[in-house]
């Protein structure tokens, strides 16, 4: 956790620091991100940085937290009245929302996605600590509901499928980002394609 000093900072300065950190972690992994660059871009002294944070891990965890909160807020606002959704419609909203969020907040998306793809499980656990896989828990609950409502195949392994869905969501978002480009209008077909595949499978429906 950042030190109290950080939260006492005048808003303008605090935002400058946060933005500099976001910039750095959007363009670098935790390991290659540099405290020096953060303080330079924030326009503060190295010493000041360590009055705000305990160490590099501390900023990173904080930025990751901010990232997660903003995305969660974004998504939950979008699917506010989620009770009335069919599971696949909900997933469609979530996938599309994920892409839109990534388009509107490319830096935050880069940070989040890079961390999710992190290969070292020990590092992942050390950073996350208490704040465990919230996003997957949410998905798992949605799937349980979907099964209860008879929409989903009851044979599904919920934990495993939720894990796959999370990764698929990220894959879609990144495929769109790198292979399709920034034409903000044309991403829905890709969501539909992925959703249709998830819902009906890839086999030829004629057979």
């Amino acid at each position: 956790m950042p030190k109290p000093t950080f939260f006492n900072l005048p808003e303008e300065k605090r935002i400058r620091v946060v933005d500099a950190a976001i910039d750095e972690f959007a363009n670098n992994s935790f390991q290659t991100a540099g405290v020096n660059r953060i303080v330079d871009n924030a326009g503060i002294a190295k010493g000041s940085f360590y009055q705000y944070f305990n160490d590099k891990e501390d900023v990173f965890r904080y930025i990751l937290e901010v990232t997660g909160e903003r995305k969660l807020k974004y998504l939950t606002e979008m699917v506010a009245n989620l009770e009335k959704y069919d599971f696949f419609d909900l997933m469609k909203e979530l996938f599309a929302g994920g892409i839109r969020f990534a388009m509107e907040n490319p830096k935050l998306a880069a940070i989040g996605n890079r961390f999710i793809k992190e290969t070292d499980p020990l590092f992942k656990e050390k950073i996350l600590g208490e704040m465990a896989p919230k996003s997957n828990l949410f998905l798992e609950q949605m799937m349980e509901k979907g099964i209860a409502k008879g929409e989903l195949d009851p044979h599904l392994d919920v934990r495993f499928s939720a894990y796959l869905l999370t990764n698929i969501s990220i894959s879609i978002s990144e495929y769109y980002q790198f292979h399709v480009g920034d034409d903000y209008q044309h991403f829905l077909p890709y969501v539909d394609k992925a959703l249709a595949m998830l819902k009906h499978g890839m086999k030829n429906p004629q057979t």
Copy 2:
């Protein structure tokens, strides 16, 4: 490309160097991997390393090449007579093969997977250079055949689906590795689960 000197090396020494490099890149990203550690573990002098390779990028590219070749060899040997396979059976073999390869060659798998998940597309392109996405091309061709044979939904976006399948394959392998453990016998159910999901979709078949 490694320098001629490297290939002139007595086999024992060359293998020592390769193994040390594999170790290093299995445990670190390209950026955080250290030439110093490689030379220490290989038991050679720093200067010798630079008689064998132009720079860090040079070893990395070489190791990545070795990794790709071994996996390709492993998989192609397994699905030797692929003509007689149904598409989903083929995918099952490939998924299962991917997991088995990862179990038998955890270091190589770590290197390959980490690189595929690499977020910086410029870095990716710089490393790959000529040797473009072979694995996806193969999958795309398999899907074209599957569609032609009437096994696959002709509406599928082949490029997009192949991309998704690659990522899903890696996800399965890593889920198994981290969530299930090293019980070498019990991974087939996960492959079946994923395959069933891909084939028939997630919707309740009763409806």
